[in-house]
């Protein structure tokens, strides 16, 4: 099979891509979720629209990743949405604590 190589150059603007927003329908389509489910997940604090009070919710592109992970956890661990929200919150906390441990270990090592 012939290798199919594409080169992608990411520019500085893309690094801080604040201008790409998805509305509720688009987010639902990308994550194979129904509106009610996304609304529930917003309620659980898993993702946040730009302005909660707005009539037309807009979500940052990265919300897709969060939701996809949530869906995966829900299916794979057979959890309900509340369980998913709790698991993801704890996972983020574990991650942050691990980083902190690494950082502190590094500081202690030299003494």
């Amino acid at each position: 099979m012939k290798a199919d190589i594409t080169t992608v150059v990411i520019d500085q603007q893309q690094l801080y891509e604040a201008d790409v927003w998805f509305d509720l329908s688009e987010l639902c389509e990308r994550c194979a979720l129904q509106k009610a489910q996304v609304i529930e997940l917003v309620g659980l604090g898993l993702i946040m629209p730009q302005t909660l009070a707005s009539e037309r919710w807009q979500f940052q592109a990265a919300a897709v990743l969060t939701l996809r992970k949530a869906v995966r956890l829900r299916y794979e661990l057979d959890l309900d949405w509340q369980g998913v929200a709790l698991a993801m919150e704890l996972m983020a906390e574990v991650r942050q604590l691990r980083q902190q441990v690494t950082s502190l270990e590094r500081q202690l090592a030299i003494r």
């Binding site: 099979m1 690094l15 891509e17 389509e29 592109a61 990265a62 057979d78 980083q99 030299i110």
Partner: protein
């Protein structure tokens, strides 16, 4: 192709009830879930457990599987099993391809239309309308130096793809990605149109790169700040000194003020990660000693001890005595 005993995989008896199977799956899924498990081959184990549950939790599939198992036990040869619902979990970082055995028994045709999630009734099998390709996710670990200098990486991504006969065939896509300076940990970069191919004229999905930082032997990271421990000699700490310290972009000279105690932090503005705005390099001073002092140095210390005998370094502990 090896026959897989899905009952053994889940650690349940052949006559296990649906509740027992579910319970065992939940336990094992938690144990091996790649997002949480620290087990060595968690991902492979997790896949196998998922595959077993996929079959045993479905009454029809389980009955079909039991038949094959019984035939095999009776010395039967190859089976010609009917096609079940094609299952394509096709998610990103956990490549959810089922085993050959699973494919041979339960078919590997186009499963859910978008190759997405089999959840929430999203199984639009054989959908003929166009739809956009799957969004994909890829984690990329960078060295700290790479984040401040920019880097080029070649990624090999497994893409869902449909061959001429309409079967799902994973295809490897090679992507050269040039990342500019200034990326930070946890950053997610969207590469529009670089995800899974669209179907029947639909647009391609997006690829999300998630940046992680590989641990560095010298620098630690806290948010956008980079932390560096710099050991100094007691006389440097006492008298002040000009010292050279490494940064992510090369060594710099630093003026250590006189009277710098261990734990004193010096901030080098803008020499951390990111660039909007950049974090700082925080130099944390650690006073250290040589492994051994010469007799002369010891004599000087004794002299110093006498000279400074009014100094009580443990004054703050007096309340506890």
């Amino acid at each position: 192709m090896d026959f897989k005993d899905y009952y053994k995989v889940l650690g349940v008896a052949d006559k296990a009830t649906a509740a027992e199977i579910k319970q065992s799956y939940r336990k094992l899924a938690r144990k091996y879930h790649p997002d949480v498990s620290k087990e060595k081959d968690a991902e492979a184990q997790f896949k196998e457990v998922g595959e077993a549950y996929e079959i045993l939790s479905d009454t029809e599939k389980r009955a079909e599987y039991d038949q094959i198992k019984a035939l095999r036990a009776a010395g039967g040869g190859r089976h010609a099993a009917g096609s079940g619902a094609g299952s394509n979990m096709g998610d990103d970082d956990v490549s959810q391809q089922f085993s050959d055995f699973f494919e041979s028994v339960f078919g590997g045709g186009m499963g859910s239309g978008r190759g997405g999630f089999r959840q929430a009734g999203g199984n639009s099998r054989g959908a003929s309308f166009s739809h956009r390709g799957q969004d994909m996710h890829h984690r990329m670990a960078l060295f700290l130096e790479e984040t401040v200098q920019g880097v080029q990486r070649t990624l090999k991504l497994e893409m869902p793809s449909v061959d001429a006969s309409g079967r799902m065939q994973p295809k490897t896509k090679t992507l050269n990605v040039k990342i500019p300076a200034g990326v930070t940990a946890g950053q997610r970069i969207r590469l529009a149109g670089q995800g899974g191919p669209g179907h029947a004229g639909g647009a391609a999905g997006d690829l999300f790169l998630e940046i992680e930082l590989a641990p560095h032997p010298v620098f630690a990271v806290e948010g956008l700040d980079v932390i560096l421990n710099v050991p100094v000699a007691p006389w440097e700490a006492a008298l002040g000194a000009k010292i050279e310290v490494p940064t992510l972009t090369g060594p710099v000279n630093l003026t250590l003020p006189a009277g710098s105690v261990s734990g004193k932090k010096l901030r080098l503005k803008g020499r951390g990660l990111g660039n909007k705005p950049a974090g700082d390099l925080i130099v944390s001073i650690q006073v250290t000693l040589p492994d051994r002092h010469s007799a002369k140095a010891e004599a000087l210390y004794r002299e110093l001890a006498e000279l400074e005998q009014d100094f009580n370094p443990r004054k703050s502990l007096e309340k506890g005595l």
